[in-house]
């Protein structure tokens, strides 16, 4: 084969490849898309768990003081116990939170908590968080441990929002860490924050209640739509999730 033939062959290959290549249809100008066709779209592998806050940690055997068996505990379930379980909610300048916590005996402890944010009576966002602790079974001799999970909803509002929350508390024994591991003596309970905590009413809400004022946002609430959203960064080529900015509620404007 002569060099000229080779060049032509390569050129022909590239021309055919280019002609056969297919770009996503959405690369066409929007106005030209009069005929319905399929939309090239690859939604990344996002699951509800992607948006959870939490972790599973393995504790050292000396994580808590030894249990005092002279304490007055119920007789019917003294293998593993939950003490002082509770949920509290509140606001800081930057976030709303639900805090679930308890003290327990057992080599497996878990607490799940959910913060729910409402505005004007309508729930607009909720954030789930969990904490799971495991102490190697043979090294745990009934020490008392504390566990805590906190769900955060980041905000830029200083009025009008309400947060409430609830938690599920768990303690038990397990041979080894894993969902299929043999376990025994589980104890569980739920708690709820009461009462919910509210920010001060926004000025326009107060004034509207009196039936007159309809403008202004001096109370810091803005004047658009209070919106809660996550921001997930991903690889559009593979669908792999890189990063999650957890739930944020702010004034979207409009």
């Amino acid at each position: 084969m002569s060099p000229a033939h080779c060049f032509r062959a390569a050129l022909a290959t590239m021309l055919v490849a280019t002609a056969c290549s297919e770009e996503p249809i959405t690369s066409l100008p929007a106005a030209d898309l009069e005929t319905p066709v399929d939309l090239a779209l690859a939604f990344p592998r996002l699951t509800a768990q992607t948006l959870f806050q939490g972790e599973v940690v393995e504790l050292a055997p000396t994580s808590g003081p030894a249990r005092d068996f002279s304490e007055d505990v119920p007789d019917d379930d003294d293998v593993s116990q939950i003490y002082g379980a509770g949920t509290s909610v509140g606001f800081t300048a930057d976030y709303a939170y639900s805090n679930g916590r308890h003290t327990y005996t057992g080599n497996l402890g878990k607490v799940e908590t959910t913060a729910r944010v409402s505005f004007d009576g309508a729930q607009i966002g909720s954030q789930f968080a969990f904490q799971e602790e495991y102490t190697p079974f043979l090294l745990d001799f009934g020490s008392v441990k504390e566990i805590l999970a906190e769900a955060y909803v980041f905000i830029d509002q200083d009025c009008g929002l309400r947060v409430d929350g609830d938690s599920n508390h768990y303690a038990g024994w397990q041979w080894f860490l894993g969902s299929t591991a043999p376990n025994w003596g589980p104890a569980g309970m739920s708690t709820q924050a009461f009462p919910p905590v509210s920010q001060p009413a926004c000025r326009e809400q107060e004034e509207d209640a009196d039936g007159g004022y309809s403008g202004g946002s001096e109370s810091g609430g803005g004047e658009g739509w209070v919106t809660c959203w996550y921001l997930v960064t991903y690889d559009p080529y593979s669908g792999e999730i890189f990063d999650v900015d957890f739930l944020f509620c702010d004034d979207v404007g409009g």
């Binding site: 590239m14 280019t18 929007a30 939309l39 996002l46 919106t227 409009g254």
Partner: protein, 146 residues
């Protein structure tokens, strides 16, 4: 031409073929000029959200939940998208997914604004069923004027 040159030419052709046929996200469009598409899949992604924004290099997509595809939802989605586009016009080679879990109005939509959004949604609902990527069957359209 010797054997080595032939192999080199064949490999070049193969590389060109692979490069040309690879499905790549759109790149190179000017920030702000990226088209916006609205999608109404029959099966919404398994996410606790009222709508999801999907930002990719070269285009943005508003994915609406069929049971919640009203003018308010579209308004909030487009308002948030507009803000994100102005704050971060260039995504580089990354994509962003923005599940909108909820919203509450401080004021009602203006009548003309509501009418325009309802018109867009009405147009979307009359589009024939097509394939919305890996979300399956659904309807979609370019957002007018984007």
């Amino acid at each position: 031409m010797n054997g080595t040159t032939r192999v080199t030419v064949a490999l070049l052709g193969l590389v060109a073929l692979m490069g040309a046929t690879a499905q790549t996200p759109l790149v190179g469009q000017e920030p702000g000029s990226a088209p916006i598409f609205i999608a109404l899949p029959e099966t919404f992604p398994d996410v606790d959200a009222r709508a999801v924004l999907m930002r990719e290099p070269g285009r943005d997509i508003v994915i609406l939940r069929a049971s919640d595809a009203g003018p308010e939802t579209l308004h909030v989605a487009l308002s948030l998208l507009g803000r994100l586009r102005s704050e971060q016009p260039r995504l580089g080679d990354r994509g962003q997914l923005i599940p909108i879990t909820g919203f509450a109005p401080r004021r009602e939509l203006a009548a003309d604004q509501r009418a325009r959004l309802e018109s867009v949604l009405s147009d979307l609902r009359t589009r024939p069923l097509a394939n919305v990527g890996n979300l399956g069957s659904g309807r979609w359209m370019p957002y007018p004027g984007s």
